[in-house]
């Protein structure tokens, strides 16, 4: 059946699908109809009435943005009458409009201003006696001036439809209709800034940007958001060598111009005056600023000495998921080719490193099976152990849209309430640390209930053994998830509809993280979630270049591209240097090595073990023991205070390079401003140090590094630096054949009644050094403890009371936030806050048994 209809617009014929609006059909023909409230990614609103067109045989004009085509329709988009109507409609919008364009931030990029100009209206036409509306100067980050609002409704739509936040609403009626935050001012929402980005006029302003620049003075440079693994494409808005604002355009970005609060407002660290601006050397007790020549000269001399006296294994390095692929690649090359050791690792050792291990074991993948696009076709989405909204907002937007607009079935399993719960058909609240049991239980339940399904899958018996000892009743007791829910999810997944399994931080920090990934791989294979284009097993990665850093081989046991040392010949050829064949020390072993006096030199690039790693106190002890500690960073971090050498690096906004997002999208970013004072790109610092160490490196540009990467890393073979367009290229990750893979399950004891478990995770506005030094701190810079209201009641803890959480002789303290978001017996403390180091307690997992006391 052909569902196309043929219509004529301004005499031109076109055949379009039935549901198409007249506006879309006209645009397909290249015919421009003026619009204001319409936005292609929102449901039509129809409030501005600018897009009126005439249709033959219709008494009155219709709004083309809301009216679907009908076969044989004859549409006129331009006529005297329409022009007059549109003009009148714009006049109406100008009524009582302050027309303070010269002092309005929107001036120069305001739709109303443009329209008034286009239609030749240059003065205010009319005033209605009405008292000016309150301007909201109170809300953080967003300034709302309803006097400039044309009531198009876009902000409400974006907040509801895209953001799922429902923080603002139309209120009142008649002329007094306006848009206000729920519960009045100030705004209390997730501060994504999306409403600002979608307001066609200057009613919603970006506060940090206010009065900073006129639109036409800004240069827009393509870049990539440095926060989460979502890898949103952004534009740095630059004037006079300062990044003043971040934008993202709907038309040419894979994220459709959607950004979260960190992306929109979290860039303040770039222009921050606390940035490191000069190399430092420790002379006796003090660190003093020196030139690069002195710093690198001395560092290389000392390092050479250690190399000579103690050998390459006495030197180690830790890379960073925040810096570019090129930086990371060069960093590991430095260790393998220049020093001759595999002692290189990163914070990811404690979490995301297990992703590739688990995926490869079962599905033959080295990364996410699909891009986030797969989410947009999913009829079923199963989210396990991820606070997707905080860890990777773009994935959350897609999931919410599927659940709310397209009616997909959403199952969310998490030890605490997350934003997605609100949109879920089923939510499972399991006890912290029982992810593996839960998945095993679901697998078992699928097996029990779907004998005939399993008969058709010949390899299933392979799994039988892993599931043998499993008794669902016990699983239910230990996980705390009712048996019916386990069966319910099993039934949903056994239908094998198109869908995705999504998992995140709780899984990566599990004691048996690899096994959980394997079990999920099995589940995905069983429920056919990986076999086709529209089905996926999708990890949620909370830091922007985790995937890239791993792909670049910043790990002790594999070469770039996850290649075994035996297969290192091509590297040796290109690097003209033999590479060590023994796996190096991982982050834990490096720490032990330092404490044991075996490791004497440590090179840190963009990471601070004192803040980001488990056992911070041991790291502190270790950093004091080192003979040679070099810290390369953008800020003077905790660990930098102990460094012998501090190398100031530039941010992503000052250099060029590539990042690889969680969906393995490799994207290029460009410098918007020149390097901050003496700071240098990481790759350049490494290169200079190498040269001084006697190993020649002469990359003129990150492009040259990427060319080397593409020649050596098979996964990156398909790209060339030049071919990476605005949205980069999403790499496939298939490297083997999926198969059921057995896994083992450690026993988990049932918690004692009355005991507490601490869990930790990403706080939305906060993800470490970057956000701490950006404008986001207006939203709070102190950590907190979430505690269930009933637990709080029995401990007589009130909102804001100090609460002490202790375990194995260590304790942290923060203010109580009483909530129903955590179940009884669980407390949540966000990680990455300077004031409360939750890492002290949870070590290398994200949960641990604790005691909770008031005070």
């Amino acid at each position: 059946m052909n569902d196309n209809v043929t219509i004529t617009i301004d005499g031109k014929g076109i055949s379009v699908p039935k549901e198409t609006t007249i506006l879309a059909a006209a645009r397909a023909l290249g015919i421009e109809i003026p619009t204001l409230c319409y936005h292609p990614k929102l449901l039509p609103i129809g409030s501005c009435r600018l897009c009126l067109v005439e249709i033959e045989g219709y008494e009155k004009p219709v709004a083309s943005c809301t009216t679907p085509v009908v076969d044989a329709m004859k549409v006129t988009t331009q006529s005297e009458k329409l022009l007059a109507l549109r003009k009148e409609a714009i006049q109406f919008m100008l009524v009582n409009h302050p027309l303070d364009c010269p002092i309005c931030d929107k001036g120069g990029e305001c739709r109303l201003q443009d329209l008034a100009f286009e239609f030749g209206l240059d003065q205010e036409v009319f005033k209605i006696a009405a008292s000016p509306l309150l301007i909201d100067y109170l809300s953080p980050l967003v300034e709302r001036n309803n006097n400039r609002c044309v009531r198009c409704g876009r902000c409400v739509s974006v907040c509801n439809e895209i953001q799922g936040e429902m923080a603002i609403e139309w209120v009142n009626h008649g002329y007094d209709t306006e848009i206000l935050p729920r519960g009045g001012y100030p705004l209390n929402c997730e501060f994504c800034g999306q409403c600002i980005a979608h307001c066609p006029v200057g009613a919603l302003l970006n506060r940090p940007f206010k009065y900073k620049a006129r639109a036409w003075e800004l240069e827009k440079i393509h870049s990539v958001c440095p926060y989460c693994g979502g890898g949103c494409a952004i534009e740095l808005n630059v004037r006079k060598n300062k990044v003043l604002r971040i934008t993202s355009s709907y038309e040419d970005t894979h994220n459709q111009g959607n950004l979260c609060g960190r992306g929109n407002f979290g860039f303040g660290f770039i222009n921050n005056n606390n940035r490191l601006h000069s190399p430092l050397i420790k002379r006796r007790k003090d660190q003093v600023p020196v030139t690069w020549e002195d710093a690198l000269g001395s560092a290389s001399e000392q390092l050479k000495k250690i190399l000579k006296s103690s050998g390459p294994e006495s030197i180690a390095g830790l890379g960073s998921p925040r810096v570019s692929n090129e930086d990371n690649y060069l960093f590991q090359k430095f260790f393998r080719a220049v020093i001759g050791t595999n002692n290189i690792d990163s914070s990811v050792h404690f979490n995301y490193r297990n992703l590739e291990r688990g995926l490869r074991a079962t599905l033959g993948l080295s990364a996410s099976s699909h891009g986030f696009d797969a989410l947009e076709k999913a009829q079923v989405i199963f989210v396990l152990g991820a606070d997707v909204r905080a860890e990777s907002p773009p994935a959350a937007l897609k999931i919410m849209k599927m659940a709310r607009v397209h009616g997909s079935t959403l199952v969310v399993a998490n030890p605490r309430k997350t934003k997605l719960d609100k949109f879920a058909n089923v939510h499972l609240r399991y006890r912290p640390g029982t992810e593996l049991l839960l998945v095993a239980g679901i697998l078992k339940a699928v097996g029990e209930k779907n004998k005939d399904l399993l008969d058709n899958i010949p390899q299933f018996p392979v799994l039988k053994k892993s599931l043998e000892g499993i008794i669902l009743q016990e699983i239910s007791e230990v996980t705390g998830v009712p048996l019916e829910q386990i069966y319910q999810v099993a039934t949903i997944l056994a239908k094998r509809e198109t869908g995705c399994i999504v998992f995140g931080y709780e899984v990566f920090t599990h004691q048996q993280a690899k096994e959980v990934v394997v079990s999920l791989g099995n589940l995905a294979f069983l429920s056919e979630k990986v076999s086709q284009k529209d089905r996926g097993l999708i990890p949620i990665i909370a830091k922007n270049n985790v995937q890239g850093m791993l792909d670049m081989g910043v790990m002790p046991d594999l070469l770039p591209g996850y290649q075994q040392f035996e297969k290192g010949a091509p590297f040796e050829k290109v690097w003209r240097q033999p590479i060590p064949k023994q796996p190096g020390k991982n982050a834990e072993a490096i720490l032990q090595g330092i404490l044991d006096g075996k490791i004497k030199a440590l090179y840190l690039m963009g990471c601070d073990p004192l803040m980001e790693f488990p056992f911070p106190d041991k790291w502190e002890e270790a950093s004091d023991k080192l003979e040679w500690l070099a810290v390369q960073d953008i800020f003077y971090t905790e660990v930098a205070t102990k460094a012998d050498y501090v190398f100031p690096a530039v941010t992503f906004a000052e250099k060029e390079g590539t990042f690889t997002s969680g969906e393995r999208r490799v994207q290029k970013f460009f410098p918007g401003i020149s390097p901050y004072r003496s700071a240098l790109p990481d790759w350049e610092i490494i290169q200079r140090l190498s040269q001084l160490m006697g190993y020649p490196m002469a990359y003129a540009h990150p492009k040259a590094i990427m060319n080397e990467i593409t020649s050596l890393v098979p996964q990156y073979n398909e790209i060339t630096y030049e071919r990476l367009g605005r949205n980069g290229i999403t790499l496939s990750s298939t490297e083997g054949i999926p198969h059921f893979t057995p896994f083992s399950i450690n026993k988990v004891a049932k918690p004692k009644p009355g005991s507490f478990t601490l869990i930790t995770g990403t706080a939305f506005f906060h993800s470490g050094t970057l956000s701490t030094n950006s404008g986001l701190t207006v939203l709070g810079s102190k950590a907190w403890v979430e505690i269930n209201s009933e637990d709080a009641g029995s401990l007589e803890i009130h909102e804001g009371d100090p609460v002490t959480i202790s375990s194995a002789g260590k304790a942290i303290s923060a203010a109580a936030k009483i909530t129903s978001a955590v179940p009884r017996g669980v407390v949540f403390v966000p990680n990455n806050f300077r004031d409360v180091q939750v890492n002290q307690l949870v070590a290398n997992q994200n949960y641990c048994p604790v005691e909770v006391t008031k005070g």
């Binding site: 409030s47 919008m93 209605i128 009626h173 008649g174 002329y175 209709t177 935050p181």
Partner: protein, 607 residues
């Protein structure tokens, strides 16, 4: 302050989904003691129902009957719409103010009364009127107001059965044998509280007959043949509308529009109060014809008695198995529920009405999709007016030919005309479609009050036009009024004598639109306010001639560009008023021109 338990109780009783929001909030307001919905209470509601706070705030802010500020146990709402305005509403405000010493928006020092303005209360034959909580008092005089207010001082606020217009529906029907009563034939005869009485008088025979003898298509065809057209204002052929409902066994809805907010209209209220089963039967027939299994009656929140009586009728019909599953042993199942309004005229617009039923702000929806495609909850829905449904049983019972025996060639049957204004006799009359204004005024209205002379009549309500003497003999049906450039609308006839000032009258209409615009689309939101501003200029005698054209221009744009019929309406009253009274408008451009009517209005509402 309401406790969490109180709030939980109400939500438990009403159900926690969004579509019950109106009920929940109304109940909470009633038990609050001072007619207030405190922000804290709303937050609790949001928390318990999981309806987003913003949605609730937007909802409360839309419906005029709700307020978040403290009021008083008794809210006095004085009507300022057309019929009451003409009959002296302005003096009523004065009287109430004198009596209680408060202005609109204030509470008496004893905290007992709170004064507000409101739009049409649906008792226009006894204008001027006011409503105290849900009791509506008409025929107000200063003396009467005093007595009424006195009587409340010793009362407790009540809610429910006992509330309602003090003049009962049946008393609003003009007592004159020359009428051709079909819809009203049982009014006053049948006991509205008893289904037995309805059945004894031949009720529910039509639905039984339909189930027995006709297929659903037959019913649609009979209604088509009868020529019945919608009585809510737009006059769309009912049978044709029913035939748009898709076939198939998806959930479909029959919706009865009982929002009756058009100033001057009170016919639906009389039918609901006096013969509720007739409406139920009409809806049953529509359900049978269209394959819908659920019906909703959306009654404006002010009509307490109508709501109570309809609810009682529904309960009785369920008990007597006239509603429920497998009716009359057939496969046809149908049930009816009531939804309430919150004091917004625009909610009578059918798509806005469905949004309101869903617990949303009453924003009209753009079309397509039409209700038959995606209506209430996105499912196919048929919306008709009360009078339309009430006309159906007789058509099925007596046949299309019989029905067509009255009325004009293109518009068959009888019409309920609502007479109000400066007439010697006001009230409801049922006459064949196409009765002339002259007949209505001279015979049924017994002529202009106090022997004064006729100046004009407003026909069709605020959205209708002004009729001068030249149109006195125009047959008032749907077709011929349209041809003459006016409209029959919902059947309002508001007669005005020579004392009425055309400028003041138009200002009143336009202020109504400005107040009732939903505020969603730019042309109407700004346009109504701009018209209001311009009309006021004439009343203030600061206008210039060009403002006349300005008004027409703006209204013309609104007609072309507005999203719904509300914004498209002001053009008709403006052009028709100007057709007759341009001169008067020009006079008002003179600052020295004396106009006590305008002065009084300015003093009352714009000081």
């Amino acid at each position: 302050m309401l406790t969490t338990e109180d709030i939980k109780g109400v939500i438990e009783k009403r159900g926690s989904s969004k579509e019950h929001l109106m009920f929940i909030l109304r109940d909470l307001e009633n038990i609050s003691g001072n007619n207030q919905l405190e922000i804290d209470v709303l937050e609790k509601v949001a928390e318990i129902t999981k309806i987003p706070k913003s949605t609730i705030a937007g909802f409360v802010g839309f419906y005029t009957m709700f307020k978040t500020n403290p009021r008083a146990p008794f809210i006095i709402r004085v009507c300022k719409s057309g019929p009451c305005h003409v009959m002296g509403a302005r003096t009523i405000f004065d009287a109430v103010e004198r009596n209680l010493g408060i202005k609109p928006g204030e509470a008496t020092p004893d905290g007992l009364f709170y004064l507000e303005q409101c739009e049409c209360l649906g008792v226009c034959s006894v204008a001027p009127a006011m409503m105290i909580n849900y009791d509506i008092h008409g025929n107000l005089t200063e003396k009467k107001i005093k007595q009424i207010l006195e009587s409340y001082k010793s009362q407790k606020a009540i809610f429910g059965e006992k509330c309602g217009p003090e003049v009962e529906g049946k008393a609003c029907v003009i007592d004159d044998d020359r009428q051709t009563k079909r819809l009203l034939v049982m009014v006053g005869k049948v006991d509205p509280l008893s289904i037995d009485s309805y059945i004894k008088n031949g009720g529910y025979a039509a639905i039984r007959k339909a189930i027995r003898e006709y297929s659903s298509d037959d019913v649609i065809n009979i209604v088509k043949d009868s020529g019945l057209s919608g009585r809510g204002g737009a006059g769309f052929p009912a049978g044709l509308k029913w035939s748009f409902m898709p076939k198939g066994d998806m959930q479909k809805y029959v919706i009865c529009n009982a929002d009756e907010g058009e100033p001057g209209t009170f016919k639906d209220r009389v039918l609901m109060e006096e013969n509720p089963h007739l409406i139920i039967e009409g809806m049953l027939l529509c359900g049978y014809a269209t394959g819908a299994t659920v019906g909703y009656i959306y009654v404006r929140g002010e009509f307490r008695r109508a709501i109570e009586r309809l609810q009682r009728a529904i309960d009785q019909a369920r008990e007597s198995r006239m509603l429920g599953k497998h009716l009359s042993g057939s496969t046809f199942s149908f049930d009816i529920f009531i939804k309430e309004g919150g004091g917004a005229y625009v909610c009578g617009e059918e798509s806005s009405l469905m949004n309101s039923m869903e617990g949303k702000r009453g924003f009209p929806r753009f079309r397509p999709p039409f209700p038959a495609g995606a209506g209430f909850m996105g499912m196919p829905s048929n919306v008709n007016n009360v009078e339309t449904y009430a006309s159906v049983p007789m058509i099925i019972e007596h046949g299309a030919t019989w029905y067509k025996s009255l009325g004009t060639e293109k518009c068959s049957g009888t019409k309920l005309y609502c007479l109000s204004g400066k007439l010697n006799r006001t009230g409801l009359v049922e006459l064949p479609m196409g009765t002339t204004l002259r007949e209505l005024i001279d015979i049924y209205g017994k002529g202009i009050k106090d022997g004064k002379t006729f100046k004009f009549a407003q026909v069709g309500g605020s959205a209708g036009g002004v009729f001068g003497e030249d149109l006195l003999d125009l047959p008032l049906d749907i077709d011929q009024t349209i041809k003459a450039g006016v409209t029959l609308g919902s059947g309002v006839v508001l007669a005005c004598d020579k004392d009425t000032c055309a400028v003041d009258f138009l200002l009143n209409i336009i202020s109504f639109f400005a107040h009732e615009s939903c505020g969603q689309c730019v042309p109407c939101r700004v346009g109504t306010s701009q018209l209001h501003f311009l009309a006021k200029k004439f009343a203030m005698r600061t206008a210039v001639e060009k403002d006349i054209d300005s008004m027409i221009e703006k209204a013309q744009l609104m007609k072309q560009a507005s999203l719904c019929a509300l914004g498209q309406s002001p053009i008709l009253p403006i052009t028709t008023t100007l057709k007759y009274f341009r001169e008067e408008f020009l006079n008002h451009c003179n600052t020295r021109y004396s106009c006590p009517e305008c002065d009084m209005t300015l003093e009352r509402f714009y000081r």
